[in-house]
Symmetry: C2
Subunit: 316 residues, 2 copies
């Protein structure tokens, strides 16, 4: 029996944060509602960064206040520092995410700190969040490669991960910020972490599809036993400080892959559906995101679905 996949949806935060068109709070809350309806149990809804840094997410508190509360659904908010955590604690949110980069150069460009400085700050944030009883995931960005520094030593990622977990983080999310990962690197990274004492259950994979490897990397990690994957509807998202970083892993691509892998109806010896997510509903959410953003989104399954709707409209 294959364990079910846990998908973690980031379109409302990682997806939107670099979009210049600021979307209404109503729209974001409606998207969150539909994500819950589609079957997601982990949704990153916003970030408590300084509002003038990312105007798109300036409505963080309001978004959180208006989220539909549903049994079993965990909403997550990014908190960059103690001020962010304090803002989060004023809201009804019980899960927070922290971030730093495994690359000194990328970390400096992103938050203007050394990794050591970031770790010192985050340990306080994590300890405090832990003390408040919040769930905590900690992103390690550029874990599979940095556009400025190139290859990243998995040993460095392990050392950072251990510090974060010891400080009280529940989970580590390995970010392939500019899509430099590939299956062999995924294998090397997961082996290093597991041999270093970190259970697979505490590791999430956050791939980007910059060079067409998000799906194959997810599959490779799944083969090695990983079960937690991040995606963004229709591939919305990127990273402003990293050249060539177009496109988070497209959630629909991941759902399609894992549902097919689990499709008992098609494959002899196949299993039950692995994600339990409604792919058709995701297609419709993706089309609405695309319309709201005002430019074509490029997730593979998203483009397939758009073509499907266009053909249906023609024959109707």
């Amino acid at each position: 029996m294959t364990s079910p996949i846990q998908l973690y949806e980031v379109c409302l935060r990682d997806g939107l944060q670099n979009e210049s068109v600021v979307l209404p709070t109503d729209f974001k809350v409606a998207i969150a509602e539909r994500l819950v309806q589609a079957g997601f149990r982990d949704i990153e809804v916003t970030s408590f960064v300084r509002p003038r840094w990312i105007p798109q997410l300036a409505d963080a508190a309001e978004v959180v206040r208006r989220l539909p509360r549903v049994e079993g659904v965990r909403y997550w908010a990014l908190v960059p520092n103690m001020i962010g955590l304090e803002r989060a604690l004023e809201c009804d949110i019980h899960h927070v995410a922290t971030f730093l980069s495994a690359s000194e150069t990328h970390n400096r460009k992103n938050v203007n700190r050394t990794i050591k400085e970031s770790l010192a700050g985050l340990k306080k944030v994590i300890a405090s969040a832990h003390g408040e009883g919040l769930g905590i995931r900690s992103y390690i960005s550029t874990a599979f490669g940095c556009p400025f520094e190139g290859a990243i030593d998995p040993g460095r990622v392990l050392a950072i991960a251990i510090e974060l977990l010891e400080a009280g983080a529940d989970r580590i999310a390995l970010g392939d910020t500019t899509g430099m990962g590939h299956p062999e690197k995924v294998r090397a990274m997961l082996s290093t972490l597991v041999e270093g004492g970190i259970e697979l259950e505490r590791i999430a994979l956050h791939f980007h599809d910059t060079r067409g490897t998000a799906v194959v990397n997810s599959y490779a990690a799944w083969q090695l036993g990983a079960r937690q994957f991040d995606g963004s509807i229709s591939g919305l998202g990127g990273c402003p400080y990293a050249p060539g970083a177009a496109g988070n892993a497209c959630t629909q691509d991941l759902v399609h892959l894992f549902e097919r892998l689990g499709g008992a109806q098609e494959v002899p010896g196949g299993h039950a559906p692995l994600t339990g997510i409604d792919l058709e509903l995701l297609g419709s959410i993706g089309m609405d995101l695309e319309a709201a953003i005002g430019r074509p989104l490029s997730g593979r399954y998203h483009e397939f679905w758009r073509g499907h709707l266009e053909r249906e409209a023609k024959t109707a």
Copy 2:
């Protein structure tokens, strides 16, 4: 030691055949020259279908006549029937490809014949080509699923493959015509064929990226020992008789994957490059194809490369 990958490039035939903008013969020959320069050893250059069916490929004989002859490079031409083979035999081409579909409905829509009728015709074509000493590959389309019939029984594909090989085909190319394949299906298919007595060396995989699975399917097949993969530069191509069939596997995506998998410089225990193909040159060929076709191509690595060039132009 991992065996090297053999990539089979189809942009000039499968890629172009559905494009309404008819490209000049000069341009096609120049693309073929650059593909050879990039390192390809197997290039499908045209099709000897009836010219009025596919005006784009009406210059088949002229393209073949003008190809640069290079030691070790095999040019392939599609031949739908005996008339096509005769046209091919009048030219200096030594490798031909035949096709039929594993789905009755798709085969009927594509060539207006039953599978049995197609097989009877192709056996004569193959025997004749074999007698002339030509190399022969035989496509089996919709092998991983049909948009009209749904799942395709691997046993049916095996039966067709055996008939084609017994008739004299050297290799079978399994076409995922509308991108319905996934890694478990790939596993089921390859197991069935190998258990049925067909050596992996005689099987090529021709994936489409319609739903974002071309790269992961290639990886899954590679893990199982397959070494021959078809791609089209920048993902050019599709199938006019199959709803939703946008995009052959993007060759750059495959080269990137396999070069990374083989990248000794990055991965401890890594191997030598697996394809020997110049990815940067492919980027440039892809940009020229895009300009000639006059619409954006959507291969993942192609889009990454386009972004890379745009950023370079800005900072220059």
